[in-house]
């Protein structure tokens, strides 16, 4: 049974690329009773070691802790905050959203002009992020600067909740779902050494993973992700990437990596034997930590498995708990089959 409480806590946690502290501390608290070693490396990745004395291939479970968000760049005379985007975000999902800003977790709003005040040609033009701003209700530059100085990180203010039976909405399912699965798997016992690598700064270019496998380098690495599901109306079948309810999404190739053919075939045969539904990621899109882990030292064999979610990289996404469960089950059974 999925630890829904854990997923909720992780989803709600504040952790934009560059400031993953809250997520890291939460994961640390969650797993510390189940692993033998935990440390934070030079770039901020969280590494946990379990069963290192056991023989056999070293298996890495990887998930990135960071989410896409914003960073405050300038504050104007009236106290409005201007920002840049961290990670891939479509400008069109930013307008009129509630956000949380900075260390003091100040609540704010990305302001939107009232319809009454717009010219005809304004109505159908996207407002670029450069022209958007955050209103924290301050009346002056000084006031804002004291609460959220430039350089403050910003997340969407979205609370995790059940939308309908077994279907959940919230923010940052990319990749708190991956973090949750890795953390849940660490509570189980395996016959092999397991290294958990929770990375930072994935969304800005797989930075954490570039160094994360250097000290404890695995033989095989499985990256857990929350990936695109575009099964929406008017999207052509071959462009849907993956579908909700069809099970864990296994990547053959994305923009950054071709996963290990033999290991992947092993994983799909485990899925078939155990009657776990699965699907392949049907569009070559996105990049993952696996591509960096793959090139650590003399090379690592990598796999990528993901929970499908709609509307990732936006203020609110949607996933099915059955997909989460099946993803966790598939990875567990795969490791057990080694």
């Amino acid at each position: 049974m999925a630890n829904i409480e854990l997923i909720e806590k992780l989803s709600n946690a504040f952790g934009v690329s560059g400031d993953e502290r809250e997520v890291r501390n939460l994961i640390r608290e969650t797993i510390k009773g189940y692993v033998e070693g935990i440390f934070v490396d030079k770039i901020g990745n969280l590494v946990a070691l379990k069963g290192m004395e056991k023989p056999g291939p070293k298996i890495m479970l990887n998930a990135h802790m960071d989410e896409v968000g914003l960073i405050v760049t300038k504050i104007d005379e009236k106290g409005f905050l201007f920002f840049k985007k961290i990670g891939g975000l479509d400008d069109r999902v930013l307008l009129g959203k509630r956000v949380i800003v900075g260390e003091k977790r100040v609540k704010g709003i990305i302001g939107a002009k009232a319809i009454h005040l717009q010219q005809k040609d304004e109505r159908n033009k996207t407002i670029e992020y450069k022209n958007l701003f955050i209103d924290i209700g301050a009346k002056s530059k000084d006031e804002s600067e004291k609460l959220c100085p430039s350089g403050s990180y910003v997340v969407f203010d979205t609370q995790f909740e059940e939308l309908s039976m077994g279907k959940y909405i919230g923010k940052s399912f990319d990749n708190r779902l991956g973090c949750a699965i890795v953390s849940e798997l660490l509570t189980e016992e395996f016959n092999f050494p397991v290294i958990a690598l929770y990375t930072v700064q994935e969304e800005i270019g797989l930075r954490g993973a570039s160094v994360g496998a250097y000290n404890y380098t695995p033989d095989i690495s499985v990256t857990l992700e929350g990936t695109i599901s575009a099964d929406m109306p008017e999207i052509k079948d071959h462009l849907k990437v993956s579908r909700l309810g069809a099970g864990p999404v296994i990547t053959i190739k994305d923009r950054s990596v071709i996963t290990d053919h033999q290991l992947r075939e092993k994983m799909t045969s485990v899925a078939r034997k155990q009657n776990i539904p699965f699907q392949f990621k049907q569009v070559v899109a996105g990049g993952t930590d696996s591509s960096k882990i793959q090139l650590t030292k003399s090379g690592v064999k990598v796999l990528v498995v993901a929970v499908p979610a709609r509307y990732i990289h936006s203020p609110v996404s949607l996933f099915y708990m059955e997909d989460y469960e099946n993803t966790k089950k598939l990875v567990r059974e795969f490791i057990k089959s080694m």
Binding site: H261, F280, K297, S298, G299
Partner: protein, 330 residues
């Protein structure tokens, strides 16, 4: 010469599935080297022991290709690219899939029924002649890889065929190994036939880490500036192998460049100088490994790179083999 090049061109080897190419290489060089093995990443590494600095020579075994991403309800295949596939040269091409099935690439022509206006990966598909989805699924699956259907044209000293990038580099290294006066080698030699170059110079990166050479030379194709109204470039087919000065990813080591030029002049081998403004090679991966590897490249000028009709001149190939051989022997 032709036979081995043809064999290499006809071997199926898109990035990540280079087994068929490696098999041919092994058979050709097994008897000529001291050690041969495959590393963790699938790179084929051949070692000719020697005293002196470690020199790593690299040519990549993989070619660009495609990967099947969907089989639609009528049996048409949707696909994505492996490596830098040039979309303008895709439609109307024949594809060879892993299991021997061949197919033809066409596009959604509703908006422009006679000529292609704007080639886009979402709008192309492969017809393998399957009459329905079930028949198609018997022949291929999601994840099946494919390449441009191999073919081979030979006229005068020119060869036109897909995958010259980089089967011609592989050929050059095989011939260097065969013709090398091994006792005269001034290096401890590692010939690495790398994998997954086209998707991020990956094989070279991990192989260089493993070997930790002092010097690295990649053998790959480069462009040429000798076709009608082409982008100006001071490289022509038939004027000799090109010594790399710089490309889109790196500046070649001055020491290696100068030494190659010196060798060419001494041995009276015609050579050209390569300044490439876009694209790079395994040498880039080698250069940035650990505390650095002085890296350069010997390039074969080629026309129509990354299409199904890559064209080279065999004189340039012979020149490259000779240049590298003489560089190594002293």
């Amino acid at each position: 010469m032709e036979d081995l090049i043809k064999k290499l061109v006809f071997a199926f080897g898109p990035s990540s599935k280079e087994e068929a190419v490696k098999k041919i290489i092994r058979a050709e060089i097994e008897q000529e080297v001291d050690e041969i093995s495959e590393d963790k990443f699938g790179n084929l590494v051949a070692h000719i022991k020697g005293s002196g600095e470690k020199l790593m020579l690299a040519a990549h075994t993989d070619s660009i290709g495609i990967i099947v991403t969907d089989i639609d309800k009528n049996g048409f295949l949707r696909f994505s690219e492996i490596g830098g596939l040039r979309k303008s040269f895709l439609i109307g091409q024949k594809i060879l899939l892993e299991n021997g099935i061949e197919g033809y690439v066409f596009y959604e022509d509703k908006e422009s029924p006679w000529e292609v206006k704007e080639p886009k990966m979402e709008k192309v598909f492969i017809d393998i002649g399957a009459t329905n989805k079930a028949r198609a699924k018997e022949m291929v699956q999601i994840g099946t890889l494919g390449v441009y259907l191999p073919n081979f044209i030979r006229n005068d000293s020119r060869i036109i065929a897909p995958s010259m990038d980089d089967r011609i580099g592989v050929y050059v290294l095989i011939e260097v190994i065969k013709n090398l006066k091994k006792r005269k080698s001034r290096f401890d030699l590692f010939f690495v036939f790398t994998t997954q170059e086209e998707v991020g110079v990956k094989g070279a990166k991990v192989s260089t880490f493993e070997i930790t050479p002092d010097l690295g030379i990649a053998v790959d194709v480069t462009f040429s500036g000798d076709t009608p109204e082409c982008k100006p470039m001071a490289l022509s087919l038939g004027n000799g192998p090109a010594v790399k000065v710089m490309d889109g990813g790196m500046i070649a080591s001055k020491e290696i460049k100068d030494e190659l030029i010196k060798t060419a002049k001494q041995e009276k081998i015609s050579y050209q100088l390569e300044v490439l403004t876009g694209g790079t090679t395994d040498a880039y991966a080698m250069q940035l490994t650990k505390s650095g590897v002085m890296s350069g490249a010997v390039s074969i000028p080629a026309r129509y790179v990354h299409t199904s009709g890559e064209t080279i001149d065999t004189n340039d190939v012979a020149g490259a083999i000779n240049l590298l051989k003489k560089y190594i022997e002293k």
